[in-house]
């Protein structure tokens, strides 16, 4: 009986089929990268981890050595060293060089994130509401009121179909083309929100009265899950974000069909 229960819990922990690009139970690392920016973030994490391990090993060694050698039984009379020029130079120089090695790739990544390099092909506006997201595709408008707009609500637990993720699935996904430069404009209509999709490496604050821009270049087709990342009231946990990256051709026909639906 107990064995069965353990097996059951293990299967829940490790044998769950990863639902596309969403968080998994007991996940420790990042989600798979879908954009060059996320790839960069993962590499930076690995770079920094190198120094982290280096420092950890070195400090642990000093600590254990000190505890060992200054133990009152093994060494009742400790040496009275109060000064050592070499060691003092080393422990001043190295800690000041290490942050530099961390800072250079970090700044390079940081500035590449908000650099406006190329003209985007599509602008999508994500508008945060309490408690859902509204998306506007207004590149194809001919008037002020005709934009392709839809709300994206979470699917409640009772309506979930088999295979859908609890608290992550929405009724209307944001459909975007893969391998295309996208401009996301993020703004709220009420309180601060934050539009975040981990595998795209995007987390963009939505500040009332201000529109923030972030660019995304999704490299592969897929469904990417994210959640609002700014605590803003009762239903904060129930406003997921789902981005569906499709081929450019499919995107064209989807948007066209939606436009026909809305204008008729």
């Amino acid at each position: 009986m107990e064995k069965e229960m353990i097996l059951h819990s293990l299967s829940w922990r490790f044998l769950t089929i990863a639902p596309c690009d969403a968080a998994e139970p007991w996940q420790l690392g990042s989600q798979n990268a879908a954009t060059p920016i996320m790839q960069g973030i993962i590499y930076l994490h690995h770079d920094i981890f190198f120094f982290l391990i280096l420092i950890l090993v070195f400090v642990s060694r000093i600590l254990v050595r000190a505890l060992w050698h200054f133990h009152e039984q093994t060494n009742p009379v400790p040496q009275r060293i109060v000064h050592g020029t070499t060691i003092e130079i080393i422990r001043t120089i190295f800690p000041s060089i290490i942050p530099m090695f961390i800072a250079i790739p970090s700044f390079a990544l940081l500035y590449s994130m908000d650099e406006v390099v190329v003209d985007p092909a599509i602008t999508i506006k994500a508008i945060g509401h309490q408690w859902y997201w509204t998306y506007e595709y207004s590149d194809y408008n001919s008037g002020d009121e005709e934009s392709l707009t839809f709300d994206s609500y979470m699917i409640p637990e009772d309506d979930l179909e088999l295979g859908q993720s609890r608290l992550l699935e929405v009724d209307n996904r944001v459909v975007v083309p893969a391998k295309t430069n996208l401009r996301m404009i993020v703004t709220p209509a009420d309180v601060p929100h934050s539009w975040a999709v981990p595998s795209s490496g995007v987390k963009c604050d939505a500040v009332p009265g201000r529109s923030n821009n972030t660019s995304i270049f999704i490299q592969r087709e897929g469904v990417y899950y994210g959640q609002c990342s700014e605590i803003r009231g009762t239903n904060h946990a129930f406003t997921p974000i789902v981005v569906e990256a499709v081929s450019l051709k499919d995107y064209g026909s989807r948007v066209f069909n939606q436009l026909i639906l809305q204008t008729n």
């Binding site: 908000d114 083309p177 703004t187 821009n213 972030t214 026909s253």
Partner: protein, 77 residues
């Protein structure tokens, strides 16, 4: 297969930062200045209209249109 043209407001080097609020506002003003100068019918102003529609949240445009109608729009028109 339905064809849609993939085109949007270009990157503007007056607004190179994350904050694009002014970008949207400026494009909106540019369009209305253009209309004031050249008249409603000229196709010259269409591109500015497309730009501001791409960049501005619909709610803002609605509000500004209302303000223009009431004569309380804060921008230089």
């Amino acid at each position: 297969m339905a064809e849609i043209e993939l085109k949007t407001a270009p990157a503007d080097f007056r607004f190179p930062t994350t904050n694009q609020t002014r970008h949207c506002f400026t494009r909106y003003i540019e369009y209305h200045k253009c209309v004031a100068a050249k008249g409603e019918e000229t196709p010259d102003c269409h591109k500015f209209a497309k730009y501001y529609r791409s960049l501005c949240p619909g709610e803002w445009v609605e509000k500004w249109n209302e303000q223009r109608a009431n004569g309380t729009f804060p921008g230089p028109l």
